[in-house]
């Protein structure tokens, strides 16, 4: 009996974060200044990021290959997705430092859960076996169920957690069943092994008809996590009910993790005739349409952004549904970009909402431009990036995903997509209208709490980072695009 050699370096970020999470829990018992917990967590995230960068694909230390009996894989894909996740969690911690005390006293556990959620996500994106994928998924899901319910004084937070949990568990059932059926179809749970087993001839499979069924069930699970119609229903409720810091984090990182895993799974069955791609395409169309339509008449900015994130899941899925190399590249690019812009948008909500509230209505941001012009400018950047106005990165995301769709012969999907972008422009614009063109609501002005409040410098820093990402990834995207290209090339056999 021999122990497997595990390439610990390749999962170094995860290890760092787990250790840091434990230490944070311990420190929570002894440290009085809870802000330092935040700084510590942030430090650990940066360390993990540094480790990731140290292991970047260009260096010899980076060995794309199996980690522990093919359970996980550190490759270009996981590197890019991991970086996006770490950036998201880092930003989330950064904006939390000044705000976490608004909604909880259990600050140590809060940071620990954030870190562990990130661990789960990293595990998911590095996973190369359904088992690790499932475990990663469950880790971050559990952590998020808890984090969603973290706003102690808001009943809606608990309600959101309950809904998220019940439906999440329901979806996990489907997900797991899907894995089981794929296992039944192929006799394998390892992605590489599945690729091998279906490569020669599909008739060789133990139970070929189960593969599409299994994939379909799997899609239910993925669809739930990334909020695809019709598995998206929880999203607005949960995003609205969760503390805004958590919303900001989960709205971006979960999508990155789940989409990356989805891409990996799809890539592993690439040689099989793939009827599910059409399912994905239809879901993409439904998702963006539904998300955009439902967002049109929202009065809560958070809820609106939640629907917006649903719509963006549809766009990303468009790239995935193309089922091509370009599609995967596009989806990855979009994910990275989406991380910055959506995080930024929620971050502005956080900065603009009242300290004693966990929500922001559109009337509350009326006249924001005159009170906090810089914040308004940032929000405008995020809004226009989400609309897809060039040269912001959001535009290129759309360009690439729709390009991939057109390339794959899904022109109809691209058409639906661009029409959706137009519909979406309406509600994003409404935010800018409120900020720049509406007079501040008397009540909001009267309460004074918004006008008087200064945005936390840390939040602003995070927002500036997000805005910079949104702008720079549009103008100077060569490094990212090249990295993505390599990652995707390595992915496909």
């Amino acid at each position: 009996m021999t122990f497997p050699t595990i390439n610990l370096l390749a999962i170094a970020p995860q290890i760092i974060l787990v250790v840091a999470a434990c230490i944070t829990l311990l420190l929570d018992l002894v440290v009085q200044n809870k802000r330092s917990l935040g700084w510590f967590s942030l430090g650990s995230v940066l360390t993990a990021l540094a480790a990731l960068i140290f292991l970047r694909p260009a260096t010899p230390e980076f060995q794309p290959g199996a980690v522990g009996s093919n359970m996980a894989l550190a490759d270009g894909l996981s590197w890019i997705a991991g970086a996006a996740i770490l950036i998201a969690v880092g930003l989330a911690i950064l904006v939390s430092i000044d705000h976490v005390a608004d909604f909880t006293r259990r600050i140590g556990a809060y940071y620990a859960l954030l870190l562990l959620a990130a661990v789960g996500m990293l595990a998911m994106v590095t996973a190369s076996d359904f088992m690790t994928i499932f475990l990663g998924l469950e880790i971050f899901s559990l952590a998020l169920y808890i984090l969603v319910g973290y706003y102690h004084s808001d009943l809606r937070s608990g309600e959101a957690a309950l809904k998220y949990f019940l439906l999440g568990a329901f979806a996990s059932g489907f997900f797991l069943y899907g894995i089981a059926l794929i296992y039944g179809a192929t006799g394998q749970t390892n992605l590489a092994a599945i690729t091998m087993s279906i490569a020669p001839l599909s008739s060789n499979l133990p139970f070929a008809p189960l593969l599409p069924i299994g994939m379909g069930l799997l899609l239910v699970g993925f669809g739930f996590k990334v909020a695809l119609v019709p598995f998206h229903m929880w999203t607005p409720d949960v995003y609205q009910g969760a503390p805004t810091t958590v919303t900001a984090f989960m709205s971006v990182a979960v999508k990155t993790a789940a989409f990356t895993a989805l891409i990996r799974v799809l890539a592993s069955v690439t040689t099989f005739s793939r009827p599910w791609l059409l399912v994905l395409a239809v879901m993409a169309a439904l998702t963006m349409t539904w998300g955009n339509l439902a967002a049109l008449r929202q009065t809560s900015v958070k809820r609106m952004l939640a629907y917006s994130s649903i719509a963006h899941a549809g766009y990303i899925l468009t790239g995935v549904a193309a089922g091509t190399e370009r599609g995967a590249q596009a989806a990855l690019y979009y994910l990275v970009v989406y991380t910055f812009m959506t995080f930024g948008a929620f971050g502005v909500v956080l900065a603009a909402q009242r300290r004693d509230q966990n929500d922001l209505t559109t009337s509350q941001i009326a006249g924001l431009a005159s009170r906090q012009p810089f914040l308004a400018v940032l929000m405008s950047i995020f809004m226009f990036a989400l609309i897809g106005i060039p040269p912001l990165a959001g535009f290129f995301g759309k360009l690439y995903v729709f390009g991939a769709a057109v390339d794959a012969g899904l022109t109809w999907l691209a058409v639906i997509g661009v029409i959706n972008s137009g519909i979406a422009a309406f509600y994003y614009l409404r935010i800018t209208v409120s900020m720049y063109m509406d007079a501040p609501e008397a009540a909001a002005e009267g309460s004074g709490s918004i006008a008087a409040r200064n945005t936390s410098a840390l939040v602003l820093t995070a927002l500036v980072v997000a805005a910079a990402g949104t702008v720079i990834l549009g103008l100077w995207q060569q490094p990212l695009v090249n990295g993505i290209a390599q990652a995707v090339v390595a992915l496909l056999p």
Binding site: P209, F224, P230, V279
Partner: protein
Amino acid sequence: MSDYAWLMLLFPAIGLVVISFFGTRLSKGIVGWLASLMVALSFLVAVAVFVQMLGLPVEARGQRVPLWSWMTAGDFHADAALLIDQLSIIMALVVTGVGFLIHVYSIGYMHDDPRFPRFFAYMNLFILMMLVLVLADNYLMLYVGWEGVGLSSYLLIGFWYEKPAAANAGMKAFLVNRVGDLGLLLAIMIIWTSLGTLQFNEVFQRAETLWAVGGTFAVATTLLMLLGATGKSAQIPLFVWLPDAMEGPTPVSALIHAATMVTAGVYLIARSGVLYALAPVSASLAAVIGAATALFAATIALTQVDLKRILAYSTISQLGFMFMAVGVGAYSAGIFHLVTHAFFKALLFLGAGSVMHALDGELDIRKMGNLRAKMPTTNWTFLIGAAALAGIPLFSGFFSKDEILYYDYLYQPLLWLVGTITAFLTAVYAFRAYFMPFWGTERVKKRWDHAHESPRIMTIPLIILAVGAVVVGLIGIPFASWIEPWLEPVFATAHEIKHAEEAAGSDMTKTVLLAIAAIIALSGAFVAYRAFLVSTEWPKRVRASLGGFGTLVENKYRVDELYNAAVVAPLLGLARWFAGPMDQRTIDGAVNGLAGLTGSLGERVRRLQVGQVGIYALSMLFGAVAILIWLAVQ
């Protein structure tokens, strides 16, 4: 001569620019004389060109003066260039000569107007544009002048823009002209599309070889051109603007709406003689239109009581004569009448202006009378003008009108008949317009008491024009015409084409017709004398016997009303329908409706989000089952 001909254009242009930009800072005297001087210089250049041309052999008289390369697009090209030939120099002489006199007259007439400089700027603009029109070397440049005079006409009619009537009249003039211009523009397009050039001589050469007589292109082109000509020359159907144009200052009426601009249509047809020769239908139509207009306008002129309006309808009628001339191919006769008409009609208008000047702007001839006592110079000059208009023998109008009637007779005696009847009517209304103000008794005493002869600066141009109205006829006296051979080279090609169908007239016919014309004119004058001075009851009886028709004529056949009801009102109605039901409600309504629909769809979708876990799970289950069924049947 071609090396300095462009100076003709330069001087009024200088006047225009200087007065536009510095006019308000200069004294009135300087402005007025500067403007007049510029026209005078232009006139002198024209004279110089003319004199030089006289010395040249016939073949060398027509010359192109290229100025600059104007417009090129693909294989289309048009130069800014002048064509100096026998026809254009005659026109230029008339324009600058009469124009100069009217400028001088205006110094006196407009003396008290606060916008004195602006008036002269407009006048110089007009002279410039008119010269461009008549000197143009190609149709496009002619079009520039064509619309340019339209602009100055618009500005000058609406010179007293505070008066709504004047402002409206200006607008009407421009728009009605634009309708005509549309025809000219389309004609130009056909010419270029078909012949590949717009330069006059090239067009005529190519048309002669490429177009069939009576062919589609020739007919279409000339008909459209005819539309343009009727607009500018106030013929049926587009004459309605000219009577209203009398709202402008009287010198303007004299210069633009009598002497020069309105004759542009005649000039155009004469210039395009070759094309009309190729399209006999259009030419005949022009003649018919001319005849109809002449008679029609003459009847209206008989019934009008506003002195300037009488003259206006008279102008329309006389232009009808010119159309009759050019329509039947008697281009020289048309141009001859154009020249004589320029003198006597300008004279009449200036005389009318002088009367107005004396009577504080009074224009109703029923309120005038016995002015000869107060205004001797005006009286005599007006009489000469009226005589020339009426075609009293030995006055210029007699020769030119007779020339036209002669050719019409040759072409179609019916035309001659209409022309002769019109000539009779002309004599009647011309002398009516003379007798009623200047003879008889002073009908409004107070006005009469104030009346006075106009200052010298106004009477001298009157005198010069009166002399002109008498002597200018000499250039075309029957059997010894100078102008006909002079212009012949210009119209030679056209005549050649027409030659086959032309019936030759004899000297005998001509003499007889001459006699008839003389009798007609004199009897017309006599009738006027009897009817309007001696037995004033008589016209009333005639009027009564005419009944409804008389009312119709008095109301100018209600053409304005007809046009309003048939064209303007429906268009405005359509515009309102477009703006309201169509644009705001249908199109924009569709746009907003689509947005609203999307919004309400969003609202419905939003409502589906009921907030209940069971429903959410149901939705998921639904999705799962749908996916599975689809994948299972694959």
